[in-house]
Symmetry: C2
Subunit: 346 residues, 2 copies
């Protein structure tokens, strides 16, 4: 796995805010797809508000009579009703407001390294289940459509929704496919036994640790056949939780999944998993050590340092894999490898 | 809502343990159905182990080569590796064991008040997702089958599984239909717009409070169209969380759902909700005050006092409703009312 020497390839200063009162704090965790000769990235853009002294400003999505308004809400720090919470935001008169809001932005490249970033959002929060943001898209190409699953966040919790596009211009939102609390959904890029398949990551609170689950569907909208597939190893690399990454790559040896794990020190690394082509619930191989872990300076320092996280990759015709990943929850990077090389690491 | 004067109708001493080393601690939260002239209850039976001084014994389900063994595991309290946890159990060398294990037992009655309880379990934990117990069944009659959804608990978390039977003799388990963490699933006793519908209750950890969600399905196994339908009111009765109860009753005015709410003092009460017959996502009425709250002595004192919880009811031909409910998480009770009477309380 070779990091691109000019990493990071996309940083906050390269992204135009979606609103004059907003400020881009991070651009990371991109979904990836190939459209004709182009590599498309769907970037998670996290924005906060421009702040002034004595006040705290938060981004708010208000949906009224079908109209979506992205606003700046300002509270005086001397107002006794304002209580600052952790990095997640503030509470005012019993209502929570988040300090950052994410949307999804499109970027295009001919070489896979140099991207042109669109000036406007591609997917913006505009539904009740999205008012705290849309995050971490994954793109799976199936039967002429690019299906995009992404995390939705709202006062009702976080869940996974689906959208689809044929051309990355028009896009159709299709609603929640995995109800709270569920993210890190990775839809397989092909049917097995006439069904769609996905990895998903429900949360655990009392028993167990967040693990990778399996589900199947006949229409991509209704999911069932849930079972727990891969649990955190419990070693220093996979201590707290694991979750699915980009859609699997179909290889002659099996479905290759690149997943992430959270270590005992809080760091996020990438791992490999090989699943049976005809029975994706059958685990053939799993990496013992990370295939990519935070080592570069930009992976160690940032909004959430010590973190590499991938939800997008592109396979070139020659078998090269371009693994796009978020570094430190604020920048977009890429690493180059190949299917063979990853399989050797398992 | 009139409590039966001989409540509780079923108590632990009336139930034969499923294993010579086990002891029945509670029999509560029954699902209910009508089969011919009989009322069937599916009782949640919670068992613990017979204890002896200086040791702690826990019930354990072990599945080996397809064989299910219900065992008693005994640990010496002087073993430094044993650490007692809260009422949930013990931890030994990093593994959690629960102090109680639930299974589902069948009981039959001709009058709805006096029940004969079977000597053997009807649904017993025998799958990896069930090894910490099966709980709180709900029965929905659809197209010749009694569908039973129930909570499964395992080291991977708690979720909702489905089973079905035609006669309450042979029963077929069909796997998890709502992945962790999800319980209080209430499947509608009829299709709307050619689809099955359900209320479900995903958990929330960071944002929001556990609420009643809606989902739909074409086959009862794969669910989608998730949306948050009813949130806790935040008053003294519905402060912490709410969740679905027995399957809705179809009335000329709408689908009548009896749900539960957890109050600020930790108590559980019952409430009513009326949903549009043709659009179950449309809320027509909702009770402001509980329709049943812990008042009787047996509802105030027990394993978890101050608790009434219902997941089973029976509608008689004359419109009488027999609401079966768990009192204090240890006894089974019944209250009598009618559709009209409940509707008047909304």
């Amino acid at each position: 796995m070779k990091r691109y020497e000019k990493n990071p390839i996309i940083t906050s200063d390269m992204v135009k805010p979606s609103n004059p009162g907003y400020e881009v704090k991070g651009v990371f965790n991109p979904g990836a797809a190939v459209l004709g000769d182009e590599v498309i990235l769907l970037l998670r853009v996290a924005e906060t508000c421009v702040q002034k002294e004595g006040f705290v400003a938060v981004p708010v999505i208000r949906i009224e009579k079908g109209r979506v308004n992205a606003e700046v809400l300002e509270f005086s720090l001397s107002d006794p009703e304002v209580s600052l919470q952790d990095t997640r935001g503030i509470s005012y008169k019993g209502t929570d407001y988040l300090s950052t809001l994410s949307h999804i932005r499109l970027a295009r490249s001919v070489d896979g390294y140099n991207f042109e970033i669109e000036g406007e959002p591609f997917l913006f929060p505009d539904a009740p289940e999205e008012v705290f943001g849309v995050e971490d898209p994954r793109v799976t190409f199936l039967e002429g459509f690019y299906y995009i699953n992404y995390t939705v966040v709202s006062p009702d919790g976080w869940a996974t929704a689906l959208a689809r596009t044929r051309d990355f211009k028009a896009v159709e939102k299709m609603g929640i496919i995995f109800c709270p609390e569920n993210k890190d959904v990775s839809i397989f890029p092909g049917k097995v036994n006439n069904r769609y398949h996905a990895l998903h990551r429900p949360d655990n609170s009392i028993f167990g640790k967040p693990s990778i689950w399996y589900a199947e569907s006949e229409d991509l909208l209704h999911w069932g056949g849930h079972r727990c597939l891969v649990r955190p190893k419990g070693d220093r690399w996979e201590d707290e939780k694991i979750g699915g990454g980009p859609p699997c790559v179909e290889t002659p040896e099996g479905w290759l999944q690149i997943y992430h794990g959270k270590a005992e020190d809080g760091g996020y690394s990438l791992f490999g998993l090989l699943l049976d082509l005809n029975d994706p619930c059958r685990i053939l191989k799993r990496s013992k050590e990370p295939i990519l872990r935070p080592e570069a300076d930009y992976e160690k320092k940032g909004f959430y340092g010590n973190c590499v996280f991938s939800n997008g990759l592109v396979e070139k015709d020659d078998g090269t894999l371009l693994i796009y990943y978020g570094a430190s929850d604020c920048m977009t990077c890429v690493a180059e490898t190949s299917v063979d090389e990853v399989l050797k690491m398992l």
